[in-house]
Symmetry: C2
Subunit: 364 residues, 2 copies
Amino acid sequence: MLSCIISDVDEEEETKSWKKLINIAVSGAAGMISNHLLFKLASGEVFGPDQPIALKLLGSERSFQALEGVAMELEDSLFPLLREVIISIDPYEVFQDAEWALLIGAKPRGPGIERAALLDINGQIFAEQGKALNAVASRNVKVMVVGNPCNTNALICLKNASNIPAKNFHALTRLDENRAKCQLALKAGVFYDQVSNVTIWGNHSTTQVPDFLNARINGLPVKEVIKDAKWLEEEFTEKVQKRGGVLIQKWGRSSAASTAVSIVDAIRSLVTPTPEGDWFSSGVYTSGNPYGVAEDIVFSMPCRSKGDGDYELVKDVIFDDYLRKRIKKTEEELLAEKRCVAHLTGEGIAVCDLPEDTMLPGEM
Amino acid sequence: MLSCIISDVDEEEETKSWKKLINIAVSGAAGMISNHLLFKLASGEVFGPDQPIALKLLGSERSFQALEGVAMELEDSLFPLLREVIISIDPYEVFQDAEWALLIGAKPRGPGIERAALLDINGQIFAEQGKALNAVASRNVKVMVVGNPCNTNALICLKNASNIPAKNFHALTRLDENRAKCQLALKAGVFYDQVSNVTIWGNHSTTQVPDFLNARINGLPVKEVIKDAKWLEEEFTEKVQKRGGVLIQKWGRSSAASTAVSIVDAIRSLVTPTPEGDWFSSGVYTSGNPYGVAEDIVFSMPCRSKGDGDYELVKDVIFDDYLRKRIKKTEEELLAEKRCVAHLTGEGIAVCDLPEDTMLPGEM
């Protein structure tokens, strides 16, 4: 079925000035987010027009036929950069030599499933995938966790992949950042390319902290442009959080297209140099962070990249009591989630004392 | 709701070296094909990274909420080139000053609806949209009809838009061309960028004629590379036609993603110069065509473009009896479809004598 893509082009390649093929693994590949993302990856808009790629697609037994359909549609699209498509239900096969692993798949939350149960169910998937990455992926694989609860899933994944640097793991908070930029632009009456330096702090949940203290509009602190402090403190964050829920109501399904766009943004932020003076948000492993955030969790923070796939944390950010207090709350939640999955991170017996349900609307 | 996009950036613009904004109208904007297509248009991959665009989205009353959701997701994606999004159920509003009209929306064929009835139902939609384009669109608007039966819908549309040149109307056969290239590459065991000069002749239906006589693999006639004449004559065309049906079986829905890719391909073929010696297929108005095809229908033929949005027909193609006979059959079908919609093209009373059902599997 796949031979229109998988053909003997290797000898041919050596005569061209293409970059070396890279393997990109995607889980949940038959789902709607992937249905957008895979075509973006294959078109070259993520890794560039001279970067041939192989897509390794991970599905489930249930979704296998749909996965075949996705592969056929990728074939029919004749993407010149897409040199190979493999579909499988075995993470050890899919992650073999992967240089990027985009972990989209997770069990969605059905009615009546509590967050603690979801943490356990999905945590087991990410523990297994961490082990598989550890065994077969490139030693420098970059892992982007999208399946929710993504911060703690990323923590579980990296704890099960001790041979891969923990800083290679990311939890996606870029859609939150994009939504925050959009809301700030809307309130200020400017086009959104004029909004910069927006950080999402903490967990991809309702405790997330979109930071308007450090954010800038036209280079000025947001508070100098948007003087409505009440809006910033009370409405802004809620608007960002509730966006997904409003979309579900309107659209009847979750926001797959804009999620896929934000995954593209997140990857491009790691493979292209960050514009001077700006930064981007990513949920990354807290190890020696300069903000006083608890160590050994996955926490969204402001990052910069030289474009080499790596990042460094931004140092010149400021805090006030309001921001500190809210960062504390999302930190506490992530520490509670961590206690809840101790059995999956090799840290003993799980104790689950999650205070309340903080799943984002639209992701339940 | 849309002000994060629609903001007062016009003054700003004059200081930048952007191209002038173009209006792109899309019908069926809340559907799955559009859900892929709109994000491709907004990202710049169709019209280029320096071309700001406005998206004018046409939906129905039933789909209006979903359309609001689509617009919100476009906002959340922060596309720098997307300067305006308008949603409406009024074609006269949506097509105002449109330079491109991508007509995706059409009633899908429900169980028990005959092709003649579908021609009538959808024909009325395209007659109305033709009138609206005629009244308010740019005088040089390019119209791409995707909603099926697309050839005859395009004919109806152009007949109702007498102030717009008939050659500006296209019916999409690019997905068929892409699928044909994929199947030829598969059979020949080559990568698909080595397949060129593939024409789809005629109707976007099961009478379509994927042309292996003029097609080339590595610059050689296909018949010199694929010596299996039986496969070419008996299996190849069927494989192309049935691809959509197989995909529906696998995937549980129609192939929206690859259709959107083929729409992008079709537009890019008109706005970028065609590579030397190659051509692309598009369903276009037959007026003085060099192939002996009946005049005054919309027929897919080989085209070349200088990249100015216009095209010319390719002259140096060859025919044999097999190809002529099959072209005759798809021509007869289009003439029968035309008689069936005479009441919509201003040519009198419709007489419907469609011989058999030739809707493509996967589009019923």
